[in-house]
């Protein structure tokens, strides 16, 4: 079953094409990584899926629901940006509870859901800390818990490892994979780093100049890169 379908999406800024007829299909429960160099349109694609940017052309589907015209707040998409985007004036508990509260959940429902998410991301005891009092990894886990709290149909991660130090990176990757498997949520993650992409993705879509130029399982791409651009992009893995 299809979790996300991006159908022929294009987007230009001042006449410059950031997305050029992007086609991408992600299976339900799959971890899809979109990899490409800086400026290739990865984050633009993520923001179009999220609803923060309007595409000039094309449609977005989640399951069999066409969401292209829905406002962000009605799309039910969890989003974790590169800098995690935690609300600086709210503590960990309030950050995670935010979506539940605005959706009108009762106090006891909010409490039980937040506590279970805190357990899931291993942050029990951190409820009252403000974002500035947390490490990069902890902030990311809060952002993930906050995004998952609303039971989203889709999870979007923008460069989730760029603000994580090398020493804890492998733990964070394991946590991310583990969390995604546990929740079974369809996930789309963008990164410029081929090593991260190959560790995280069930499948990888390689993006270049606003287009998806190859999509497949990590092994398929490694064994059969379609062209020289892809060979160059995945070169760090081959060394």
């Amino acid at each position: 079953m299809r979790g996300l379908y991006v159908q022929n999406v294009s987007k230009s800024f001042n006449g410059v094409k950031a997305l050029d007829g992007v086609e991408l299909s992600v299976e339900q429960g799959e971890f899809m990584v979109i990899m490409g160099p800086s400026g290739c349109g990865k984050t633009t694609l993520l923001l179009v899926i999220l609803g923060a940017l309007k595409p000039d052309k094309g449609l977005i589907w989640i399951g069999d629901r066409e969401i292209s015209r829905l406002p962000i707040e009605e799309r039910n998409i969890g989003y974790v940006p590169q800098d995690f985007g935690l609300f600086p004036h709210l503590n960990v508990y309030e950050n995670i509870a935010f979506g539940l509260r605005v959706k009108g959940y009762s106090k006891s429902e909010v409490d039980s859901k937040v506590k279970s998410l805190l357990r899931m991301v291993d942050l029990e005891g951190f409820e009252l800390r403000k974002p500035r009092e947390l490490s990069g990894g902890q902030r990311q886990r809060v952002a993930l818990a906050r995004a998952l709290a609303i039971n989203p149909s889709l999870l979007l991660l923008d460069e989730p490892l760029s603000n994580i130090d090398e020493a804890t990176k492998s733990d964070v990757i394991a946590n991310l994979k583990n969390l995604q498997r546990k929740t079974g949520i369809t996930t789309v993650c963008v990164t410029h780093n081929p090593e991260d992409a190959f560790k995280l993705g069930d499948r990888i879509a390689i993006m270049y100049l606003g287009k998806i130029i190859q999509c497949g399982k990590p092994k398929e791409i490694l064994e059969n890169p379609k062209n020289e651009v892809i060979k160059r992009l995945i070169a760090p893995i081959l060394i």
Binding site: G85, P88, V102
Partner: protein, 249 residues
């Protein structure tokens, strides 16, 4: 020794001394006449001017905060042609426009409606000149929040405009609104020309401290000096208090 460094420090010191003297000279000028000033403080007209000045400035501050929120929201989030020009009209122009002219404009606009020479006229005149401080603080902070992208995240979690405003923008802008309020309050306390032209100077109705200082400076200089000491002291105390509150928050 870096001569340029020393020269810069000397120039800065001269400016600092000039500014401090400008503020503190009034207290020195009072000199031995403190008795006269204190007796002037007992005059009913002075009490009226203090009351009109403080109450109108507080009201203008509150109205400025109430006006700044929707204006800042529209200037931050709405996309339309001429947004920059509108911001200039709302924020910069009132700060550079001659207040006396604005007083005349209001007199022509609202005079027939019976608003001239009333307490409402004091508020209207002071609002135009003073509110831009709060509006500009709110616009700057709302824009920073928008640029950080956390409003988009809040929307992705289901937040509607009312939630964005009450749970994100206002809590993150509270300090800036307070700072804007304090500057608006201080500017409203000092406003003279627009108020004098449109509202006049009726004791206990429209006469403010600056109006009293202006009108009494020839006839009763000790009253003018007493009112000046009060106006300056109030401005200093209030601004310092607001700064302390804002720092603590």
């Amino acid at each position: 020794m870096d001569r340029f460094d020393v020269a810069l420090k000397m120039m800065a010191s001269i400016i600092v001394i000039y500014m401090l003297i400008s503020i503190l000279y009034l207290y020195i000028a009072v000199g031995e006449n403190w008795g006269l000033v204190l007796s002037a403080l007992l005059e009913s007209r002075v009490h009226g001017a203090i009351f009109i000045s403080i109450s109108s400035a507080i009201l203008v501050g509150i109205l400025a905060v109430a006006a700044a929120i929707p204006v800042a929201y529209v200037l931050t989030y709405a996309n339309f042609r001429g947004k920059d020009i509108l911001e200039t009209f709302l924020v910069e122009l009132p700060q550079t426009f001659p207040p006396v002219t604005e007083g005349l404009v209001y007199l022509l606009m609202f005079g027939r409606l019976g608003l001239a020479y009333t307490f409402a006229a004091v508020i209207i005149a002071k609002f135009y000149v003073s509110a831009p401080f709060t509006i500009s603080f709110a616009v700057r902070r709302f824009t920073e929040v928008r640029e950080s992208g956390i409003d988009v995240i809040a929307r992705s979690l289901g937040a509607r405009t009312s939630h964005i405003l009450s749970k994100i923008l206002l809590p993150l802008t509270a300090k800036d609104l307070l700072a804007g309020f304090s500057l608006t309050w201080a500017r409203a306390m000092g406003e003279l020309a627009a108020t004098l032209v449109f509202a006049g100077a009726i004791p206990w109705v429209t006469e403010t401290l600056p109006a009293l200082i202006y009108l009494a400076s020839n006839e009763k200089p000790q009253v003018a000096i007493a009112a000046s000491v009060i106006a300056e002291t109030l401005s200093m105390i209030s601004l310092l208090s607001f700064k302390l509150i804002a720092r603590r928050k």
